[in-house]
């Protein structure tokens, strides 16, 4: 057996999972929709509202991506190149929004910039509210992805350019930016995917005038049950996302620059003089964007039920378990989190090994294809499960669909954070071990695994947190048994009565705290080597 062949087989679990639980259901439901009434496809495509929806979806996603990059890149610079007091805490705070349920975020944003909002401007129903929420959600993606590469760049390159007389801006444009390009493209692609398929945010903050393809799919599927229209829109979305990913993969192929990376500790320094102000501004902006809406949620928890205090946390106990069983929701979330996290590691790590060992197009294409699920319509996939998973074994109401859906969403992140580490393990170490008579399995166990463990631990924590905060896919899968925490929050927001509202906010706070703790842990165990996200 040659090493190359065995390595390709390692990607099999990820590919099988993707085909059975993503590609096959998606193809089935789109085919069902299109064949239901083929005559209507052209009329749906030609409708003015379809065109304007597609156009709006596209431009708001591009605008969200650009804005997130504009705020995120300076922050990534500050976080990766400087040591300053409270850096770890700040990193945790900017990561929390990424896992918050959209319902909670929408309520927080409406309290801030909705009618009668704290900030005094009513932006509800405008594109500004949507863009602000998208930046809030996705900042962590940019800061962590770009920041981790930045912290390992060799500063001597920049210093050399500066000593040859280049101005700071020229150094950035000609040296730093090209070196960072792969990570900026990766972060931008993920932000674009999330914004392009944004559902809850657009539904709650864009109503009644602004809709994206995903919201229109929901509208067609949930209320009107116009399956052909939903299928056409889902197809447009898949084509859009795939095109985006192909452009991204091509770009990655061309822009890959071999470079010498350094440990992060060597490159970070204390800011001096004017740098202090720059760092404060670069960190302060994303921090404000992340913290203010979270503060609104915390404030609602503290002031619920009249006075100020933690009394409203009792609301969690006060919720009638026959209405929403909060305890079981917490239990379910933790259980699904553990399963999704284990499954993600089992499936994504071998795939990451394959992607890391193939620097050519094959690795990149695999990497790109595994990103598709995060850019696809959750409603459509939920319906796809119903159509496709009835035979040979009826899996349509299998509890495992929820953690599997979470795994599909978490996989790209885990792959992104482990591939660079695997690549950084010098081949000479492996060769030396092999020369000394170690079998390939033993080489992997004694060389690769120990070096990979910190990154894998970080990836596991990330998968756990993603599973904890996942909402869209969970909502549209037929689930036996209980709800997860995000669904319980959603359910509580759908019921009248002050304790239900208090409990919804209290549960959100719990989610924020758990997420914060996990992210903080992730910070502590961060690999000293290279690690995206």
């Amino acid at each position: 057996m040659t090493p190359r062949r065995s390595s390709a087989l390692l990607a099999l679990p990820a590919v099988v999972l993707g085909i059975v639980f993503f590609a096959w259901p998606m193809v089935s439901i789109i085919a069902t929709g299109l064949s239901a009434d083929p005559g209507r496809i052209a009329s749906i495509l030609g409708k003015g509202t379809t065109l304007s929806t597609v156009w709006f979806t596209l431009w708001q996603a591009v605008a969200s991506t650009i804005l997130t990059l504009l705020v995120g890149i300076p922050a990534a610079y500050a976080f990766s190149r400087f040591r300053f007091p409270g850096r770890a805490l700040a990193r945790v705070l900017v990561t929390i929004p990424f896992v918050l349920p959209t319902v909670v975020v929408a309520i927080a944003f409406l309290a801030l910039i909705g009618p009668g909002g704290v900030l005094g401007v009513d932006l509800a129903g405008t594109v500004w509210a949507i863009l602000a929420a998208h930046v809030f959600f996705n900042l962590a993606v940019v800061i962590r992805t770009v920041g981790s590469l930045w912290s390992h760049l060799d500063p001597r390159l920049e210093e050399a350019a500066a000593s040859l007389g280049a101005k700071p801006w020229t150094v950035f444009r000609t040296i730093t930016l090209p070196l960072l390009r792969p990570s900026i493209a990766a972060a931008g692609a993920i932000v674009f995917l999330f914004s392009f398929t944004s559902f809850g945010i657009v539904l709650l903050l864009g109503a009644p005038h602004l809709t994206t393809i995903e919201v229109e799919i929901y509208r067609s599927a949930a209320l009107v049950f116009d399956l052909p229209a939903a299928a056409v829109l889902a197809l447009i979305q898949v084509v859009g996302v795939t095109t985006g990913l192909i452009i991204y993969a091509r770009h990655q192929e061309r822009s890959g620059i071999g470079q010498h990376l350094l440990p992060a500790v060597a490159t970070a320094q204390r800011p001096v003089g004017r740098q202090r102000w720059l760092v404060a501004a670069a960190v302060g902006m994303p921090l404000a964007i992340s913290v203010i809406p979270i503060a609104v949620i915390v404030w609602r928890v503290l002031t619920a039920g009249g006075g100020v205090g933690l009394g409203s946390l009792r609301a969690i106990e006060a919720v009638d378990p026959s209405v929403v069983n909060v305890a079981s929701a917490i239990g379910n979330s933790l259980q699904f989190g553990v399963i999704a996290c284990t499954l993600t590691l089992m499936v994504a790590l071998p795939a990451a090994v394959v992607i890391a060992s193939r620097r050519g197009p094959m690795g990149r294409w695999l990497d790109t294809l595994l990103m598709l699920p995060i850019g696809s319509s959750a409603v459509t996939l939920g319906f796809g499960f119903v159509v496709a998973l009835d035979a040979p074994v009826d899996l349509r109401a299998w509890w495992g669909l929820v953690p599997i859906a979470h795994t599909l969403v978490a996989m790209p992140f885990v792959i992104r954070s482990t591939v660079p580490v695997i690549r950084s393990i010098g081949p000479r170490l492996r060769e030396a071990a092999a020369v000394l008579g170690a079998t390939p399995g033993r080489v992997w166990r004694t060389i690769d695994l120990p070096m990979l463990t910190p990154a894998a631990a970080g990836a596991a924590a990330l998968a756990f947190v993603i599973s904890l905060g996942e909402f869209g896919a969970t909502l549209f899968v037929a689930r036996p048994g209980g709800k997860t925490m995000t669904l319980a929050i959603f359910s509580l927001f759908g019921r009248p009565g002050p304790t239900n509202l208090s409990a919804a906010f209290a549960l959100s706070l719990l989610l924020i705290v758990v997420t914060g703790a996990v992210v903080a842990l992730l910070e502590r165990t961060r690999a000293p080597g290279v690690g995206s996200f």
Partner: protein
């Protein structure tokens, strides 16, 4: 390798056992807002030897459409949560096996059964609620909402996304008609001129825009007739009377139905589950768990519902077939009138 084989064998045996032995299970497909006290389910299992597995699949529209996609080869045995606006669609899709429960013999027909295919379980009225503190003199009728003194006071969830929003639209269509000189489109044009606010869903309307329960400034909201008692029932510290009340005019009644899914392999257990849902203990639990009213007239209402809730005497209702045939056109016309 041996260990893996052993594990696999254990797993397969365990899986086989799970299939065959143990009590019979009946699977109930429903929406995310379905709620039932655990004791009642345990009681049902003790009495019948049947375990109930609840499968939730999102909001009512999504669940119904999931069921339709699997018509004849169902995921579950019983479907609960089909409401008036969705009933015709499930009948057209041939989703149900006929069943008439003996328990409901005397009272189900007044709510409709689609020729014995479905069983009504509960009903609820979508009604305007108002803030009794901000608005001591509430509008008395739908017509009042277009008056200058109620300008900028009403918030409505988007009928193209939200079920209560759709119910309110249907109430106005029932009241003002389609071809009358002043039809429902004229009415909505006047509401628009009077600065009606449209938001995405009920939660946003009630918890963000409504002045009594949210942070907003709108004292009139589309909600449910059972919302004021919920304000009392779930208040902390306890209060006696809600600071919200129901406007009796312009309510729309939604009945929620259950049915035995065609193709179910546990027809008998499925029927017994429907009997259970019509029985007094379950019927008496629906007001406090789901904020709806029991169809069984022998079921007693909780105290707080008697004092604070209102069962409108003459709510609007539109025949499910008429809704199914016109829904898409009505929603398109509504968008043209109110949003464009």
């Amino acid at each position: 390798m041996k260990r893996i084989t052993l594990l696999l064998a254990i797993f397969l045996v365990a899986a086989a056992c799970a299939e065959d032995s143990g009590p019979a299970t009946v699977r109930l497909l429903t929406h995310d807002f379905f709620a039932v006290p655990d004791e009642l389910l345990t009681q049902f299992t003790n009495e019948t030897g049947i375990e109930v597995e609840i499968i939730r699949g999102g909001d009512a529209g999504i669940v119904i459409n999931q069921a339709i996609l699997a018509s004849g080869n169902p995921v579950a045995d019983v479907l609960f949560g089909v409401d008036t606006t969705l009933l015709s669609r499930t009948i057209d899709a041939d989703l149900f096996q006929p069943y008439r429960s003996e328990i409901g013999r005397d009272f189900v027909d007044q709510y409709g059964t689609a020729g014995g295919l479905v069983t009504p379980i509960d009903f609820g009225d979508v009604c305007l609620n108002y803030d009794t503190i901000r608005l001591p003199n509430p509008p008395a009728s739908l017509e009042d909402l277009t008056a200058e003194r109620f300008r900028g006071m009403l918030v409505v969830p988007d009928p193209t996304i939200s079920t209560p929003g759709l119910a309110f639209l249907l109430a106005t269509i029932d009241r003002f008609g389609e071809t009358t000189p002043y039809n429902w489109r004229d009415y909505w044009a006047d509401l628009r001129a009077n600065d009606v606010e449209i938001v995405a869903d009920w939660g946003t309307a009630y918890y963000s825009s409504f002045s009594a329960t949210g942070t907003g400034s709108r004292p009139i909201v589309v909600s449910y007739a059972s919302s004021p008692p919920a304000e009392v029932l779930f208040s902390d510290p306890p209060i006696d009377r809600a600071t919200t009340a129901v406007i009796e005019d312009g309510c729309f009644r939604q009945v929620e139905y259950a049915g035995v899914l065609r193709g179910s392999r546990n027809q008998d257990s499925a029927r017994r589950l429907i009997d259970f849902m019509l029985s007094i203990p379950f019927q008496e639990s629906v007001p406090s768990s789901m904020f709806v009213f029991p169809v069984n007239p022998a079921a007693m209402l909780p105290e707080v519902f008697i004092g604070n809730a209102l069962v409108p005497s003459d709510p609007a209702s539109i025949d499910p077939d008429t809704i199914e045939q016109n829904r898409e056109r009505w929603l398109t016309e509504w968008i043209d009138t109110v949003l464009r």
